[in-house]
């Protein structure tokens, strides 16, 4: 009775691909079709700004699955296909080539695209040849081909991707400048001391880090390549290569054109359903309510996409999904491994545990005593403890957190005890 239902997934990034395999593993018996517009088999994106840029990884080593796995799991992979419309009344997805694929269940794993530089928006379709954004393998390939000893790279945007590109370029012997419009690096995600740590790290490696810099435009060579970046204060930075990383725009147009609710992401409920109960959305493109933080969130990370994919697969197969976990992500720069858990927005106190100068510390973002989020630097073990602490909404003593003579485990054991005997905060 359920065996011939067709599961159609638009988007073959890590979320869409995981969903296809997880649904099959959870007992989905009908056809599964996975559509993606890139000319490659599904691959891991995080190494694109890390190992791939320095030549330590290749596309062939980045596959999410082996080539044979799709056939074995009877998943139809349609690469190089772009979905252009969802016809909800007839339950069909229209592709750019005019084909229409019928579906019984549709999942949107559309991801996002790099936010274009505002002053280049009119040329967004046809950018100068040495201006790059980084989202896809082909973007990373183009950047890597231009990372050469002695050339000058200007990175616009001091977020994690921009900083990872800067670290890779320095390794390639380039002269690198990072321009950040905000007052600090990582302005949307990290507290000032963590941002200061990263500023120090990059400056020590020779990167020219400049904050509060508004990029106004470019100067071009006669043949249309950028040869300098021009800032609002009149500064000119000569550049051979420019990489812009100023955020992601969720790909929600397909959903909004089909009449689904969209607001900086495709709106989903706690079961990942859009405003059409037959259509789900997961990953970077989906905005939903976080019970942990009691507000609407849209999270751009691999763990989030995988978690939502596994949850969607369970729900589609009428199995109980695993409980939600706390959001987390990671960033690798030089020999520094950052692992961050939780969302720090709304914190009123920051506690540093350990020594930033030693590249070995954790930063706790607290609201009152509640641990909202933790950034761990070269402390994978503390990170794992913090994942549980954030999920359990632990309330810990700030002085204890700062005291390295007290093991984190015992601080958290005390904290959960306190939490368990006191009435729950806010009645939530």
């Amino acid at each position: 009775m359920v065996s011939d239902r067709h599961l159609l997934i638009i988007g073959n990034g890590c979320g869409g691909t995981e969903l296809a395999f997880a649904a099959r593993a959870s007992g989905w018996a009908g056809p599964i079709t996975l559509i993606g517009d890139e000319p490659h088999e599904p691959y891991h994106r995080p190494p694109l700004s890390k190992a791939y840029l320095v030549g330590a990884a290749e596309l062939s080593s980045l596959g999410l699955r082996g080539t044979a796995a799709y056939a074995t799991a009877q998943i139809t992979l349609l690469a190089r296909h772009r979905a252009v419309a969802i016809h909800r009344s007839s339950k069909q997805v229209e592709l750019a080539d005019g084909r229409r694929l019928p579906y019984d269940h549709l999942v949107l794993a559309l991801g996002g695209r790099p936010r274009p530089l505002p002053f280049m928006a009119r040329q967004a379709e046809n950018p100068p040849r040495n201006l790059h954004y980084l989202r896809t393998h082909d973007d990373a390939r183009a950047i890597r081909d231009n990372l050469h000893l002695g050339r000058r790279l200007v990175v616009i945007g001091g977020g994690y991707i921009g900083l990872e590109v800067a670290a890779a370029a320095v390794k390639s012997g380039m002269q690198v400048a990072v321009l950040e419009a905000g007052q600090q690096l990582l302005g949307r995600v990290a507290a000032a001391p963590v941002a200061a740590f990263y500023g120090y790290l990059h400056r020590s490696a020779g990167v020219d880090i400049r904050t509060s810099v508004q990029v106004q435009g470019f100067e071009f060579t006669p043949d249309g390549a950028i040869h300098a970046v021009v800032c609002a204060d009149g500064t000119r930075l000569p550049a051979d290569v420019v990489v812009a990383g100023i955020g992601l725009l969720p790909n929600s147009e397909l959903a909004s054109e089909a009449g689904l609710s969209v607001d900086d992401g495709i709106i989903v409920d706690e079961r990942l359903a859009t405003s059409d109960p037959g259509i789900m959305a997961i990953g970077d493109c989906a905005r939903g309510f976080s019970t942990l933080y009691q507000r609407s969130v849209r999270i751009e990370s691999v763990p989030n996409a995988l978690e939502q994919a596994r949850k969607a697969a369970a729900l589609l197969c009428d199995k109980p999904p695993r409980p939600d976990t706390a959001p987390w992500f990671w960033s690798d720069q030089y020999s520094v491994s950052l692992k961050a858990v939780g969302l720090s927005q709304g914190y009123d106190r920051l506690v540093i545990r350990g020594e930033p100068q030693e590249r070995d510390f954790s930063a706790f973002y607290l609201k009152g005593k509640r641990i909202l989020a933790v950034d761990t630097v070269n402390r994978a073990q503390e990170f794992q403890l913090c994942k549980a602490a954030v999920l359990q909404r632990l309330e810990a003593d700030p002085e204890a957190l700062a005291d390295e003579t007290l093991p984190l485990k015992s601080i958290f054991a005390m904290a959960s005890h306190t939490h368990a005997v006191s009435p729950p905060e806010n009645g939530s």
Binding site: A25, P46, L64, V302, W330, A380, Q381, F383
Partner: protein, 107 residues
């Protein structure tokens, strides 16, 4: 080409040819061994490619890095003295025939 033998949680054994220099997580994923997940793509960030390495091969491996060691403290299946992350094990002729038990749960 050297061989690696993955012993799956259900006891089934999969013999896989692995090119020198290729990491065991990558070989497992390419070969369709789903019990090894590799969520982070081999960056030593997620601990979802946890394996138990049998002797004598264990002692032929370089010691885990500080990052790997810390991640191993927090695997979904319990850490044992022979626990490793398969994304950090690079195949070489010295490891030909290596037998690795895949941890029963990865996440």
């Amino acid at each position: 080409m050297p061989n690696a033998i993955f012993v799956l949680p259900d006891g089934q054994r999969e013999s896989v040819e692995v090119a020198n220099g290729t990491h065991l997580m990558r070989a497992a994923v390419n070969h369709g061994i789903h019990a090894i997940v590799g969520d982070c793509g081999g960056s030593a960030a997620c601990a979802t490619c946890h394996v138990y390495v049998q002797e004598p091969w264990l002692q032929r491996l370089p010691a885990p890095s500080a990052t790997e060691d810390q991640l191993l403290e927090a695997t979904a299946s319990p850490r044992q003295p022979n626990s490793r992350l398969s994304c950090q094990i690079q195949m070489s002729d010295a490891l030909d025939g290596i037998i690795i038990d895949v941890a029963p749960t990865q996440w």
